[in-house]
């Protein structure tokens, strides 16, 4: 149990680095996990080569979803959107450094689902975006 709330997760939840908004974002998407009301909005600024130059998220939810968002954004800045499209469930779990049951997995994967839906320009996010 305590492993689940590793220092990095509690720290990112309480002191997020990428929470807020950015100026001139050109990719954005918002979704929620209806089960628990977790809600995440992600804004990205992507340059003409497809590189993510700035990123921010906003929303509310549990420590797992919020820490997942913060760590995800840290990892995608400077990367090409094509690389983000290929990110998987395992990448998120590696970042968080924990194992999760099916219910909490949804919390952890919500930010990845949101960022992919934004990059693909979808109207609605779908769980298949984060299925391995």
């Amino acid at each position: 149990m305590d492993d689940l709330y590793r220092e990095i997760i509690v720290d990112r939840y309480k002191n997020p680095r990428f929470k807020g908004t950015i100026q001139g974002g050109n990719v954005n998407f918002e979704d929620e996990n209806p089960l628990c009301g977790d809600q995440i909005r992600i804004d990205l600024k992507v340059d003409e080569f497809g590189t993510i130059v700035e990123a921010a998220y906003d929303g509310h939810g549990c420590a797992i979803s919020q820490a997942s968002a913060d760590l995800l954004l840290e990892s995608v800045i400077g990367k090409n959107v094509e690389i983000v499209k290929k990110m998987t469930k395992q990448d998120i779990l590696d970042m968080l450094g924990i194992e999760l049951g099916p219910v909490r997995l949804k919390c952890a994967l919500l930010p990845l689902k949101v960022i992919k839906a934004g990059i693909y320009g979808l109207k609605a996010a779908d769980d298949s975006l984060v299925d391995d």
């Binding site: 689940l4 709330y5 939840y13 628990c36 009301g37 977790d38 509310h60 939810g61 420590a63 797992i64």
Partner: protein, 404 residues
């Protein structure tokens, strides 16, 4: 009551890290005593047959066991006439049945249905569906700041002559026990039909449908020591007889021709297809079990435990408890812990072997009303003890420690 937990095999099991299970989620579903599990097992081992048709010995025994369960469940809620006890899948199906038969026939454009903001989605969404289909109006009784229904508001709403008033006996989030007898009588004076969501009340207190004089009521077996997959719709016989059929198929018919059918008598008219027979038998044993302990004793025990829980929870830094004072509530407590999401609270408690519920408890509008997106809920039943409450409180101190 202090030995009751020994009747529930699951409470002996160990969960995370060898810790004993402390089950505080009975408002979602209760645990089952061994007598109920054994009765269902015995049905499959010794009696399994379809009911109401075969003439062989097993079919007769199974039919008798199924109908005997109906009688005992009726008796449990003060109903002597088995025609008024319809077996359904659960509370949700019971309410949908009324919405799709009686209400669809009796209500028309611009008719009004009165509900409350503390309804479970099961007593809200069926009416939203019907309202969209028939162009009905829905209106809601205000809540007071301490989580009670505002009866002055209710009185004003009744002046608009609603066709139906549907409300919960006990809120699954706030724990509020509503003054339903008075509310039903007020509705009848206004000429309205009443429907009671009794999912959280019938398991925990003595409820007599005839004394309440309610027109329809719904509850589920699985919240009251019985199995999943079976529930009850109680309805007054005069209303049920006039209603159109619900699902079509076997058992709900008296005669069938190629292009027409004649519906069966009550209660079978609303029980199409092979019902959950083992579950009905288990449900019958569950009400026998609860009656053996005594519903008044159970209610008093839970009230005492809830008072203790509120007192202890309020000791924990950062805890906010929702809902009315203990005299007006049943055996559950919803709360939040400042700065910590309810899912994280539940997850850390789970690591201690403590099962609570976190989320919106199928009552999203009520959470909006409280200004929160989710809450944690500990709910009690006859097998819980003060030691369970103490473990919960110790667990919450641990949650605070992880986050601060």
């Amino acid at each position: 009551m202090n030995k009751v937990h020994m009747d529930f095999p699951i409470l002996k099991r160990l969960v995370k890290a060898g810790k004993h299970l402390i089950y505080l989620d009975s408002a979602a579903t209760s645990q089952k005593p061994l007598v109920v599990i054994d009765a269902m097992d015995a049905y499959y081992k010794e009696m399994n047959a379809n009911i109401h048709r075969g003439v062989h010995a097993l079919a007769e025994e199974a039919t008798q066991a199924y109908e005997s369960a109906r009688m005992r469940i009726g008796d449990f809620i003060g109903v002597k006439d088995p025609r008024e006890i319809i077996f359904t899948k659960n509370t949700t199906e019971s309410i949908n049945l009324v919405a799709k038969t009686w209400a669809r026939q009796a209500l028309g454009k611009d008719d009004l249905i009165i509900l409350t903001p503390m309804e479970h989605h099961s007593n809200l969404v069926p009416w939203q569906i019907l309202a969209a289909e028939k162009d009905l109006e829905l209106d809601f009784i205000d809540l007071t700041p301490d989580g009670l229904l505002d009866l002055n508001c209710y009185e004003r709403l009744l002046e608009r002559k609603p066709k139906l008033v549907a409300f919960t006996h006990m809120s699954n989030v706030l724990g509020t026990i509503n003054p339903v007898k008075e509310m039903i009588s007020m509705a009848h004076q206004a000429g309205s039909v009443t429907l009671l969501d009794a999912a959280q009340s019938v398991p925990h207190m003595s409820v007599n449908m005839k004394e309440l004089d309610v027109d329809f009521a719904a509850f589920s077996a699985h919240k009251m020591c019985g199995p999943t997959g079976i529930g009850i719709l109680y309805g007054k016989a005069e209303l049920l007889s006039g209603m159109p059929v619900f699902l079509g198929g076997g058992d709900m018919i008296k005669k069938v021709a190629l292009r027409s059918f004649q519906p069966n008598d009550l209660p079978h008219k609303f029980e199409a297809g092979t019902p959950p027979i083992a579950e009905a038998i288990g449900f019958g044993v569950a009400v026998d079990y609860l009656s053996g302990i005594g519903m008044d004793q159970i209610a008093a025990y839970e009230r005492e435990l809830t008072a203790y829980a509120i007192e202890r929870l309020e000791e924990v830094p950062g805890v906010t408890v929702y809902g009315p004072k203990v005299e007006d509530r049943g055996g559950l407590v919803s709360f939040t812990l400042e700065g910590i999401h309810p899912h994280d609270v539940a997850q850390i408690l789970d690591g201690e072997g403590i099962a609570i519920r976190a989320g919106h408890h199928c009552a999203m509008p009520l959470h909006q009303n409280l200004g929160i997106t989710a809450s944690s809920r500990a709910s009690f039943y006859l097998y819980n003890t003060r030691a369970d409450v103490d473990a919960l409180v110790d667990g919450l101190y641990k949650v605070n420690k992880v986050f601060h």
